[in-house]
Symmetry: C2
Subunit: 197 residues, 2 copies
Amino acid sequence: MSKGDDTRRRIIEQAAAIFNQHGFEGASMSGLMRATGLKKGGIYRHFSSKQELAAAAFDYAWQAATAARMHDLAEVPNSVDKLMRFIANFIERRPSVPGGCPALNTAVEADDGNPLLRRLALKAFREWRKRLAIIIAVGIKKREIRRGIDPKALATLIISSLEGALTISRLEKRQHALTSVRLYLERYLETAVRSGR
Amino acid sequence: MSKGDDTRRRIIEQAAAIFNQHGFEGASMSGLMRATGLKKGGIYRHFSSKQELAAAAFDYAWQAATAARMHDLAEVPNSVDKLMRFIANFIERRPSVPGGCPALNTAVEADDGNPLLRRLALKAFREWRKRLAIIIAVGIKKREIRRGIDPKALATLIISSLEGALTISRLEKRQHALTSVRLYLERYLETAVRSGR
């Protein structure tokens, strides 16, 4: 990795925390300069615009969030247990980029605004739902999950309820919302999703 | 209402749409001037700061959202049916202020930032959860809802899953996420919450 690549990567890492905590509009040039330790020209040598930097920062933050949530999932053989592990990871593993879920943050800020960031958030949600839906579809095939379950709908329920609870928990600075939703989801997976073979 | 009060109210109404769609940071003075048809001085004759205007706009947007969601709830006698009606209202009734849920939008933007707006979003979520929890607690008392149900936890599940699904639906410009979550919640209320008297 050249020195330029290294600097670029460092800018993205630092900017990801700023954008994820303060949003695209809320991230100021002075904040980005402080975080990276670079002057404006030093940042814009690597990125043509604030939007290009924000897009790279989103990708970085989303990869970090995905790594935390998918951690060790491949090691869990049973599909329902995989979903349980995913839920536990979402709640217990703190991603390396602070500020909550990058997809949710970007979705809420960009749904009536910035089209590039909006597209990235949409892609992130769809990939995430797809990953969970595949786990569920495989589970049905392996008869670990009941046949009547709709993979896309169940994936949507898990994602929606965790994202909503994360918002409330971050606001309250208490785990209550996440813990309540986790309990419901686990009970639901155990009683209505897991195959009763 | 004096002419000054009338102008103030009109500014709040117009500003609520701007803030709810673009956020506190994303709402520009030029956008606020365009929406209200007033010059900067005309707006600041009524509000001491952008933050004071944003706080009044939030209260206005939150009242509009609450009115839509709670619409006709008093007319539904059974507690479980009240929850069902609430869910239907949330999905079907478009509040008069565009831009999605004001509490969610403000929570996501302000959780790492603006303390006044953060406090307003927190208060909104708590009041909302409290309203639903009271419906559930009354339902348990009236034996319409099973005794084992935790009012606060069930209220949290309903709010979290609807808010998460609203985010995805707004991003996808499709109702799928809201429809999926509604189906789950209705089935859950019918099979695990409604008392089997």
